[in-house]
C-alpha cells in the first residue's frame, strides 16, 4: 500500500533500525493449523466478548483514578486492595444483586429490551475494529461502514428507554439524546468519509495501512471534528445534556435500576473504548510504530488508551453545554468543518494521484 500523500520530497519517518524481523518462529501462528470454521467463529466471538468485558472496565477504572487525581483526591482505594483496582468488579456484583424494577406505566418489553439495544451495537462495533491487520474480531471489507452503521443503532436503545419509561424526564432526555445523536452523527460520518477518501478504501485495515504521519496535519480538522462528535455521541460531558441529572434527573435512564442500569453504564464505557480505538485506527495510524508487525496490536491499544484518557480529561475540564449551544456547535461549526475537510482531502487526493 503506497502512502496516499505522495510528496515530491521524501520525508518518510524511518525508524532507526529495522524491527521488522517479525515474530520469533515459536511465537507466530502456525500457518498449517486451520481451524474448522465453526470453531474459529466461536473463538473469535469469545475473544471479542472478553475484550468487551475487560476494556471498558479498564477505562472506567482509569476514569475513577484520573478524575480523582485531577481533582486532588484519591478515588477508590479499598476494593481489591491495591488502589482499589477491583472497584468496578465490586460495582458489577452490587448491581446484579439489586432489585430490578419495571415501572407500572412502562411499555414493558420495550423498557426491558432497551439496555440490550443500547449495549450490543458497541460489541459488534468493537468486533470490527482491527488492532492489527491480523488481530481483528470480524474481518469485514467495508469495516468503516459497518462500524458507523452499528453505532447508529445505539440511539434507538436510548429512545426506547426514554419512550417506554412513561416518564416526562425520560422522554425529554430521550428526545434530547436523539436530537443530539443524529446531529453529531453527521459530522462524524463526514469526517470518517474524509479519511476513507484519503485512503481510497472503506476497510479499516486499509485505512490504517494507508496512513502516514502527514495525515496528522492533513486530517487534523477532521480528527478534531471526529473527537468532538464522538464525545457527543457518547453523551459524555460536556455533551451530557440528555442525562443532565441536575435538570432532568437522569434522562432516559431515570427509571432503570440494577443490572439494566449497569448495562447503560457499560454501554457508555464500551462506547469510549470503541471510539478511542476507532480514532486511533483512523487518525493515528493504528498499529504503526516500532515493532509494527510484532507489537502492532499493543500500539493500537496504547493509542486508544491515550485517546480515552483525553476523553476523561475533557469530562473533568469542561462545563456542560446548553442544548441549543450543543446543536449550534454541530450544525454551524462541525458540519461545515467536516465538509471543508472533505474538500481538502479530495483536492489532495486528486493532486497527488
Amino acid at each position: 500500500m503506497t502512502p496516499a500523500l505522495d510528496l515530491p520530497f521524501d520525508i518518510s519517518v524511518s525508524w532507526p533500525f529495522d524491527w521488522s524481523l517479525g515474530w520469533p518462529d515459536w511465537l507466530s501462528w502456525p500457518d498449517a493449523v486451520v481451524l474448522p470454521t465453526w470453531l474459529e467463529v466461536v473463538l473469535r466471538a469469545v475473544a471479542v466478548l472478553l475484550a468487551f468485558l475487560v476494556l471498558p472496565l479498564l477505562v472506567g477504572q482509569t476514569e475513577h483514578k484520573v478524575m480523582a487525581h485531577m481533582q486532588g483526591r484519591l478515588g477508590p482505594m479499598y476494593a481489591g486492595g491495591f488502589h482499589g483496582w477491583a472497584q468496578l468488579v465490586a460495582d458489577g456484583v452490587k448491581f446484579v444483586q439489586k432489585e430490578d424494577i419495571t415501572p407500572a406505566r412502562a411499555d414493558r418489553w420495550v423498557f426491558r429490551l432497551a439496555p440490550a439495544v443500547a449495549l450490543v451495537p458497541y460489541l459488534v462495533a468493537l468486533a470490527a475494529i482491527p488492532l492489527s491487520p491480523s488481530v481483528v474480531g470480524a474481518p469485514v471489507d467495508a469495516g468503516v461502514v459497518l462500524v458507523l452503521a452499528v453505532i447508529g443503532v445505539g440511539v434507538i436503545g436510548t429512545l426506547m428507554a426514554g419512550w417506554a419509561s412513561a416518564n416526562k424526564y425520560s422522554l425529554l432526555g430521550a428526545m434530547r439524546a436523539a436530537a443530539q445523536l443524529v446531529s453529531y452523527e453527521l459530522p462524524l460520518v463526514l469526517a470518517v468519509a474524509s479519511v476513507a477518501l484519503a485512503a481510497g478504501t472503506l476497510s479499516l485495515v486499509g485505512i490504517a495501512e494507508a496512513w502516514s504521519p502527514w495525515w496528522l496535519l492533513w486530517q487534523l480538522p477532521g480528527a478534531v471534528v471526529f473527537l468532538v462528535a464522538a464525545l457527543a455521541e457518547l453523551q459524555r460531558p460536556p455533551f451530557d445534556m440528555p442525562l443532565a441529572d441536575s435538570e432532568i434527573v437522569f434522562g432516559a435512564v431515570t427509571e432503570y435500576t440494577g443490572l439494566r442500569f449497569a448495562f447503560f453504564l457499560l454501554a457508555e464505557y464500551a462506547g469510549i473504548v470503541v471510539f478511542s480505538l476507532l480514532f486511533a485506527v483512523l487518525y493515528l495510524g493504528g498499529w504503526a510504530g516500532p515493532l509494527e508487525s510484532w507489537l502492532g496490536w499493543l500500539w493500537t491499544l496504547l493509542k486508544g488508551f491515550v485517546v480515552a484518557v483525553v476523553v476523561i480529561w475533557l469530562r473533568v475540564s469542561w462545563p456542560r453545554l446548553r442544548e441549543d449551544q450543543l446543536q449550534r456547535l454541530a450544525w454551524v461549526w462541525l458540519v461545515p468543518i467536516a465538509l471543508f475537510q472533505l474538500a481538502l482531502t479530495a483536492v489532495g487526493v486528486v493532486m497527488t494521484s
Binding site: 473469535r44 446484579v96 432489585e99 434527573v249 472533505l342 479530495a346
Partner: protein, 119 residues
Amino acid sequence: MSGYLAVAAVLAAGVLLFVAAMGARRLLAPRAPSAAKASTYESGVDPVGEGWAQTKVRYFVFSFLYVIFAVDAIYLFPWALVLRSPEIGRSSLVEMFVFIAVIVLGLAHAARRGLLRWV
C-alpha cells in the same frame, strides 16, 4: 470464512451476554415489588400530565436535517472508491464539489432562516 459470519457470532454473543446477565440477576436479585416502587419517579413528586406536553418541534427539525444530510453523506463513500480512478476521478471531484456546495447552501439556508437558532 466471511467476516460477516463472525459479526453474526459476535451479535449472538452479545445477546447471550444479555440473557445470561438477566439470568444471573434473576437468581441473585431480591424481588419485593410494591406500588410505590413501580410508580413513575419524578424526584418524589406525584406524576402529573403527559410527557408529550414538553415536546418541542425543534427536535423534529434536527431529525429532518439529519435525515437529509446523512443520506447525502452516503454518496461520499462510493465516491471515495472512484476518486483515484483516472477516468472519472477529476470529473467526480467537480461533481462532488457541486454536490457539497449544494448541501452547504441548504445548511446555510436553514441557518439563515433561523432553524438552528433555539431561543
